[in-house]
């Protein structure tokens, strides 16, 4: 039912040559098995791809590749949105920086049965001022408000949106991504350089 009328208006690899193309990305983080891949699979057209990165200096272990899953969807004929599963380790050498740098923002999937698994990712995004939303998976409707109160009590910034999300449901994923992007936009607006910063007092010559 979720798909009625709007299944994959993917614009496909488009465009006459010379068309202006650009891309954006969103990071999906959270603990192991919380539904990161499912979340992405619900919104992108094709199955996920897996990119590898080499973690260097691991005692010469060549075969220990970091695998990073991702999907892509064309949002309009010139804009490709990529969704990356954040690597489990927040290690620049494990490809983490490549994934996070320049992202619109991040979705932290949060299993209320295993909250600790997602805390590292939340801390990281808080510390690095990357806009994120907390998407609660596995929430029974009757406990929802309690859960939200507890999460607020964990000390995340009050402006961080907390939403419910079923990673298997396309509409739910879409809503989460919209909430994130709106939040990121607001965040960006708030952080725009103020008049003080844009008019430096540096001498002209």
């Amino acid at each position: 039912m979720d798909y009625v009328g709007s299944r994959f208006p993917d614009f496909g690899p488009p465009g006459p040559p010379g068309r202006e193309l650009t891309s954006a990305k969103i990071v999906v983080a959270g603990g192991f098995g919380v539904g990161k891949s499912t979340f992405i699979r619900s919104i992108v057209e094709n199955d996920l791809l897996t990119m590898t990165a080499l973690p260097p200096e691991r005692a010469g272990l060549v075969t220990e590749l970091v695998r990073i899953q991702f999907g892509r969807v064309w949002l309009d004929p010139g804009l490709a949105l990529h969704l990356f599963v954040a690597p489990q380790w927040q290690d620049p050498r494990a490809g983490w920086n490549d994934v996070v740098r320049g992202a619109v923002g991040a979705v932290v999937l949060f299993d209320v049965m295993r909250p600790a698994d997602s805390v590292d990712a939340m801390r990281y995004f808080e510390d690095h001022k990357i806009p994120y939303v907390l998407a609660l998976n596995n929430v029974h409707a009757s406990v929802r408000s309690d859960v939200k109160a507890i999460i607020r009590g964990m000390g995340i910034a009050p402006e961080v949106p907390v939403v419910n999300c079923d990673p298997r449901v396309r509409l739910s994923v879409r809503e989460t991504l919209i909430t994130l992007t709106e939040h990121a936009k607001l965040d960006r607006w708030r952080r725009r350089p103020g008049p003080d910063e844009t008019t430096p007092l540096a001498p002209v010559c």
Binding site: K25, T52, L75, L81, R174
Partner: protein, 181 residues
């Protein structure tokens, strides 16, 4: 300065030059022994001074579609001349596409460039090229950087190129795109 001290300092800074160490290691013992000997005779500080300088002709290997094995990674680093950095700023989501020049050059390109050109007939991101060619990200960045410098692929810069956050215009576009999904 001893290179060991340099390497140590770089590691302290937590930057990717660690990759170079790995690549050099791999190139060191990977290929046939004759090549290895000639490489080890060349002065070591060369890579310190100009890590992205043009080196000798990149060797071409027979297998056009590499598999993800130790050997193919070694081969991949040989393609890049052991380099792990590119002159062109490529994010993982940056789109690249084949252009007229690469289409006309079809048939005379080296195998891995040919493969990239075929993949990029429709625009692909760096991450997609890496995934579809089954090559490590670092290798693909260098490969695509080389091809871009030679004019074989067009690079469509992302709005976040250089690490800054995407601008409001792009976010607005993402938002309206998501709403249409």
């Amino acid at each position: 300065m001893s290179s060991a001290a340099d390497a140590h300092r770089r590691r302290r800074r937590g930057e990717s030059p660690a990759e170079q160490t790995f690549a050099d290691l791999m190139n060191g013992f990977s290929l046939d022994s004759g090549r290895k000997r000639t490489r080890s005779e060349s002065p070591v500080p060369a890579r310190e001074a100009t890590p992205v300088a043009e080196q000798q002709e990149t060797p071409v290997f027979e297998t056009p579609v590499p598999e993800l094995s130790d050997a193919s990674i070694v081969r991949a680093y040989a393609w890049t001349g052991g380099r792990t950095r590119s002159n062109i700023n490529l994010e993982i989501e940056t789109l690249v596409s084949a252009n007229d020049q690469s289409r006309q050059s079809a048939g005379i390109l080296q195998a891995e460039h040919q493969h990239v050109v075929e993949l990029c007939r429709s625009p692909r991101s760096v991450a997609e090229v890496a995934a579809l060619m089954r090559l490590p990200l670092g290798v693909v960045k260098v490969l695509l950087g080389d091809m871009a410098e030679r004019g074989l692929v067009d690079v469509h810069q992302t709005a976040s190129a250089g690490g800054v956050t995407p601008d409001l215009g792009l976010m607005e576009r993402v938002l309206s795109g998501l709403r249409r999904l």
